[in-house]
């Protein structure tokens, strides 16, 4: 890892992110939702809605942002002159990750301020949030490494957003909580984060850790595959 290079990519992609209308408007998505929800009810917002915003922010900014940026580099072949070794790719990914993490943080902080989130952030829930962020980041990078155009990212992005980002919406589609789909979706990562605000923290954390671990395996596989394709 070369900090100079990571910063070079960070500065470049920060400019590109803010000048790309498609990416920049994603920052507004959680903020607009937060604004709408905060107008809906007078009392404090339930954890489910707060985490819906978190899920939207993580999938629409963190995951889709890095996916789109990588896809654009692949599509336009702009990385060729920069690559010298697998380490260059790690620098590129690290620099881009910093950009999307920063953008997600900005968007979430504004959203939380608008919603006036009142509940306690325990160490377990913060740890859970970090694991969830890593999960979305890994998935975004993995897809970004494998697709060759921006257009194809939507094929991956839509299911990721609906299943992992808008998870609590399932309750509206399948209201019966004993339905097998509901029992299955109870294991999705975002639900673990909601559970972390209850009494039981070990099991949800372990499930979340498993998701993150799977995402690490996915991204490692994607990285290896990409590297072997580069040096054919």
């Amino acid at each position: 890892m070369n900090t100079g290079r990571i910063m070079a990519i960070f500065e470049k992609d920060l400019k590109e992110f803010t000048r790309n209308a498609m990416l920049f408007t994603t920052i507004l998505l959680p903020i607009i939702l937060a604004f709408m929800y905060s107008r809906m009810g007078g009392e404090a917002l339930p954890a489910m809605l707060v985490y819906l915003i978190v899920g939207v922010a993580f999938s629409a900014i963190l995951c889709s942002g890095i996916m789109t940026m990588m896809a654009e580099e692949n599509e336009k072949n702009t990385l060729r002159g920069l690559m010298q070794s697998p380490a260059s790719m790690l620098d590129i990914l690290a620099g881009k990750s910093l950009v999307v993490v920063l953008m997600t943080a900005v968007s979430l902080i504004i959203s939380f301020l608008i919603m006036d989130v009142a509940f306690e952030w325990s160490i377990a829930s913060i740890g859970g949030l970090i694991l969830l962020a890593l999960f979305f980041l890994n998935v975004g990078i993995a897809v970004g490494l494998t697709v060759d155009s921006v257009a194809t990212t939507s094929v991956y992005l839509l299911p990721i957003m609906f299943i992992f980002g808008f998870t609590p919406m399932i309750e509206m589609v399948v209201p019966d909580s004993d339905h097998f789909i509901r029992r299955l979706t109870d294991y999705l990562p975002l639900y673990q984060n909601i559970s972390l605000h209850g009494e039981e923290t070990t099991v949800p954390l372990l499930i979340l850790l498993a998701w993150t671990l799977v995402s690490f395996l996915y991204v490692t596989w994607a990285f290896r595959k990409r590297m072997s394709d580069e040096v054919k």
């Binding site: 100079g4 290079r5 910063m7 070079a8 990519i9 500065e11 470049k12 400019k15 590109e16 000048r19 790309n20 336009k76 072949n77 702009t78 060729r80 002159g81 920069l82 690559m83 010298q84 070794s85 260059s88 580069e230 040096v231 054919k232």
Partner: protein, 303 residues
């Protein structure tokens, strides 16, 4: 040191290699099929920088931002502002790359190759539809790359383009890699003299041979005469005679050379005094030596 095996390019047994020698630049002319094959081979090698005629660029960045990024990424010590000046990008520095002309994009590629931390550079058709400015600037980039110890190999389809880059070029065909013979000595008879160089005040002008009426030597200067104007020429009259003899010029006198095409008549004033009359409004009369009287008549008839 990076190298490309010729056998892999031409698909035949061959022991030769295209070597990337530090501080050197080689120019190789080859058919487009080989160029594509080499470019493909180099794409998968991360140690060689592939410079294409139009490098992809970050369209949302300005010229200066892209240069700053390249410099920072490659840890280049070159100052971006200096580069902008040297490569004549001042008017473009704040323009987004999506709005730049191809000339600027091509130039940005040269700079990227020059600033990159790669030790070996493969330039593929770098002068493809390049402007005169860009040809100069590519030469500049090549010099800078040589100075910093980079190894450059330029491959191009066009022989003319190759000679624009170097007087010593190679050719790659199915027989392998060969230097292109340029031996000036044997080519000399083919080099046709078309114009003469002369001075007029502080300008150097080039005079078409067919416009010259005659050349005279006067007070140690050689003067070229074209319809009432005289221009000073370097060298001696004897030299001019030697250079021009096969182009229809004749030294009719110790101090004069005439263009036979422009001779209208020969006048004999007396037994030993002759003049050549030029075909111009003044009917200029040029002295003709007695000894040359017969020879010039022969030449005027058969030339």
């Amino acid at each position: 040191m990076d190298e490309i095996r010729v056998s892999e390019v031409i698909g035949k047994e061959n022991g030769q290699t295209i070597a990337f020698e530090p501080g050197e630049s080689a120019v190789i002319q080859m058919p487009v099929g080989y160029i594509n094959r080499i470019a493909d081979m180099v794409k998968s090698s991360q140690s060689i920088f592939l410079l294409e005629s139009l490098m992809p660029s970050y369209n949302r960045l300005t010229v200066r931002e892209q240069l700053r990024f390249i410099a920072k990424w490659h840890g280049s010590e070159l100052k971006v502002e200096d580069i902008i000046r040297q490569y004549k990008l001042e008017p473009w520095k704040k323009t987004h790359l999506s709005k730049c002309t191809e000339e600027v994009i091509q130039r940005m590629g040269y700079i990227h190759a020059m600033m990159s931390s790669h030790k070996s550079i493969l330039a593929v058709d770098p002068l493809h539809s390049a402007t005169v400015d860009n040809i100069h600037l590519f030469h500049k980039a090549l010099q800078q790359m040589k100075r910093t110890g980079k190894a450059t190999v330029v491959i191009t389809q066009s022989t003319e383009e190759a000679f624009v880059l170097s007087p010593d070029i190679y050719k790659l065909n199915e027989q392998g890699l060969k230097p292109v013979a340029t031996d000036d000595a044997s080519e000399e008879p083919n080099v046709k003299l078309k114009r003469l160089k002369a001075k007029y005040q502080d300008k150097t002008i080039f005079i078409d041979l067919e416009d010259i009426e005659y050349i005279e030597s006067s007070e140690g200067k050689v003067l070229v005469n074209i319809s009432r104007e005289k221009f000073v020429m370097d060298g001696t009259l004897a030299q001019a005679d030697e250079d021009l003899r096969s182009y229809g010029f004749y030294r009719c006198h110790r101090s004069y050379i005439v263009n036979l095409e422009k001779v209208k008549e020969i006048i004999s004033w007396s037994k030993n005094t002759y003049s050549v009359v030029m075909d111009n409004p003044e009917k200029t009369k040029i002295p003709l030596s007695r000894t040359k009287y017969n020879e010039i008549q022969e030449l005027l008839m058969h030339h």
